[in-house]
């Protein structure tokens, strides 16, 4: 057994002490936190704004990237809540 093996065993035993229920919470928390962050982004970050030259028109509801991002993240939250 080398010092690396001892260190590896120490890390493995420490990680084993973490309750699986806490780990499951982390797996669900990651998409939840990102979803909150996405919903708080300013409109300028999630809509075309004035980027399309020559097109001076109001932004359509489906041009907001928050919708797609929320859909993908919402799905992750459901999946990890059920199967984690």
């Amino acid at each position: 057994m080398t010092p690396l093996h001892h260190f590896g065993n120490f890390v493995r035993e420490s990680v084993e002490l973490i309750p699986l229920s806490w780990v499951r919470i982390v797996f669900v928390a990651i998409p939840v936190l990102i979803l909150i962050w996405v919903l708080m982004l300013p409109k300028s970050e999630t809509t075309p704004g004035d980027e399309i030259p020559g097109e001076d028109r109001p932004v359509r509801w489906d041009e907001n990237l928050k919708i797609g991002a929320s859909l993908a993240l919402g799905f992750q939250i459901i999946i990890y809540t059920i199967f984690a």
Binding site: M1, T2, L4, H5, G8, R12, V15, E16, L20, V23, R24, V26, F27, I30, P31, I34, V38, L41, E45, T46, T47, P48, G49, E51, I52, L65, G68, A69, L71, A72, L73, F75, Q76, I79, Y80, F83, A84
Partner: protein, 547 residues
């Protein structure tokens, strides 16, 4: 296991191949410059890029491999598509992709020179080039082996032996390698990134349709969703009983078939620390933010908003992929519980579940998956050679037309290299290509450390980044070596890691070592000048907002 095909099946495969080639060649019209070839003239729409991202990520070997891993270890392999993709794709869409788009770069190594120095750019470009060039050969070989394992090509093989000789060659595999390489090589060299992205979009559609078909027919044949759930419950109870027979004191929950979080004590390679720290925090960001083959297509978007939208659309599609790959594998667990090799799950499903005609559609989907990955790596490898090596060191004043010519020539040369390398691998002992793949994945953790410090830490220096990158690679190579039986038996020790294929753990330690070395060396070296610091994330983003 060979899948028996009828004329209709072959016809469907032929229609798919002709359509793909036709679209690829049609898009070659109007190709006038290197920008057209490498970035699709920055005219690509978000929906096509998003589908291309997914198609590039899911290769033919992944469909079989992820299906096989699910058959063997349960749905934890779906983490690679869910927590290993979706969260970072959303973050990348709003943070990193707009940043790279604003810098106007063609490649990630190009950014490294702007932020650090030419040494960091060159070493990263060479690593990516080696990775992609070898991967082209590996993907050609692995995919050809799978296709030739499913389709009966014996009559063609006999013809080749009687015509060309070399009876010792595995002609089934060789025919598949040649056909795939030539088809992909033609449309990629002629149409560049635009052809790759649009054909990927078709390939993504065919791939999803093919896998979805197996899922629907499989669930129907089992007796519906409720029956499917009941069968899985029975398997979970049986597994639990088997474990308690062997070890009556065991209280371990063994329903790994339906658990995404696997405990450390499991023998699965997908235990939660590897998935969370190795995959979600390191390999996944390295892939979606730092992989040239992935980032390049978003740089070809019409504008910054479309570049962001492509990643969001990709994330939505990515949410669906595990359902159509892992659930069929669970169907195989129920219908064929005694397969020795999990990778046989999909071929068995295709043979047993699908009627004539639909088998051809699935095989077209499978071929689509493998072509979509090979074409992307071809185009990105050609971009790196042309942009980071040719126009940087050999001919900095090259005209746009010259760059287009070099890009096309490099694509053809890479196809030829891929065929030879695939042939070389086929002469080696089986499983060798898996070792190549593991070895080449070693630099992803260190590359992420360099990219993150470059983006977010102004004190990071070029010398620090260079030293950190090399140290990280040395770390992962050492860990890999210490886990090989020949090495640890010679040293009289035990393997360092207790799970099979611990590549997720290699990436964690390689990243940490690289990061530590970058920090330490940077503090002992001269800070980078102001013109380099304008490529820090905070400053560039501020400039963009001020415009």
């Amino acid at each position: 296991m060979k899948v028996s095909l009828s004329t209709i099946d072959y016809l469907i495969i032929a229609i798919y191949l002709v359509t793909t080639m036709g679209i690829g060649l049609f898009l070659s019209g109007g190709m006038k410059s290197g920008k057209d070839f490498f970035l699709g003239g920055r005219r690509l729409p978000w929906w096509a890029i998003g589908m291309s991202l997914v198609a590039t990520d899911i290769g033919g070997t992944d469909i079989i491999g992820v299906g096989g891993a699910t058959y063997q270890y349960g749905i934890a392999s779906a983490n690679f598509e869910w927590i290993g993709c979706v969260p970072i794709m959303i973050v990348a869409a709003f943070v990193f992709i707009p940043f790279f788009y604003r810098t106007g770069i063609y490649t990630i190594p190009e950014y490294m020179e702007k932020r650090f120095n030419v040494s960091v750019r060159t070493v990263l470009a060479c690593c990516w080039l080696a990775f992609m060039a070898c991967n082209i050969g590996i993907m050609l070989f692995a995919s050809a082996k799978m296709v030739s394992g499913m389709i009966d090509l014996s009559s063609l093989s006999h013809y080749c032996i009687s015509t060309f000789g070399h009876a010792d060659w595995n002609w089934d595999t060789m025919i598949c390698i040649w056909v795939t390489a030539i088809l992909v090589g033609i449309y990629t060299s002629v149409g560049g990134l635009a052809a790759v992205v649009y054909t990927d979009a078709i390939q993504c559609t065919v791939m999803i349709a093919g896998c979805l078909m197996i899922l629907v027919i499989g669930i129907y044949q089992i007796g519906g969703i409720q029956q499917f759930k009941k069968e899985l419950d029975l398997i979970a109870v049986k597994n639990q009983t088997d474990v308690q027979k062997e070890d009556p004191s065991s209280n371990e929950v063994t329903d790994q078939n339906r658990s995404l979080v696997v405990p450390v004590s499991s023998n699965s390679p997908f235990v939660w620390p590897g998935i969370l720290f190795g995959l979600a925090f390191i390999l996944s960001p390295a892939y979606w933010i730092g992989n040239q083959a992935i980032v390049q297509r978003s740089l070809g978007a019409k504008n910054e908003f479309q570049a962001k939208a492509s990643y969001i659309w990709g994330a939505v599609l990515k949410s669906v992929i595990p359902i159509i790959v892992t659930i069929p594998a669970l169907i195989a667990v129920i219908k064929f519980p005694n397969l020795e090799d999990g990778d046989q799950a999909f071929p068995h499903l295709v043979s047993e579940l699908l009627p004539v005609g639909l088998r051809g559609l699935f095989l077209a989907a499978f071929i689509a998956a493998l072509m979509s990955s090979i074409d992307s790596y071809l185009n990105s490898a050609a971009t790196i050679v042309t942009n980071d090596l040719y126009s940087r060191f050999i001919n900095p004043d090259a005209s746009d037309k010259r760059l287009l010519f070099i890009g096309r020539t490099m694509t053809i040369l890479l196809v030829i290299w891929g065929i030879f390398f695939a042939h070389y691998i086929s002469t080696l002992q089986s499983g060798i290509y898996a070792i190549f793949q593991t070895l080449m994945a070693f630099f992803q953790g260190p590359a992420l450390a360099v990219l993150m410090t470059g983006l977010f830490w102004k004190r990071a220096t070029g010398i620090g980044a260079f030293a950190g990158f090399l140290s990280g690679i040395c770390c992962s190579v050492s860990l890999y070596a210490l886990n090989q039986p020949a090495v640890y038996k010679m040293l009289g020790t035990e393997p360092l890691f207790q799970i099979p294929d611990p590549f997720l753990y290699f990436s964690i330690w390689a990243f940490l070592v690289a990061m530590s070395v970058i920090i330490i060396v940077s503090f002992f070296t001269t800070p980078e000048p102001q013109e380099k610091l304008q490529y820090l994330y905070s400053r560039r983003f501020q400039q963009g907002e001020n415009k």
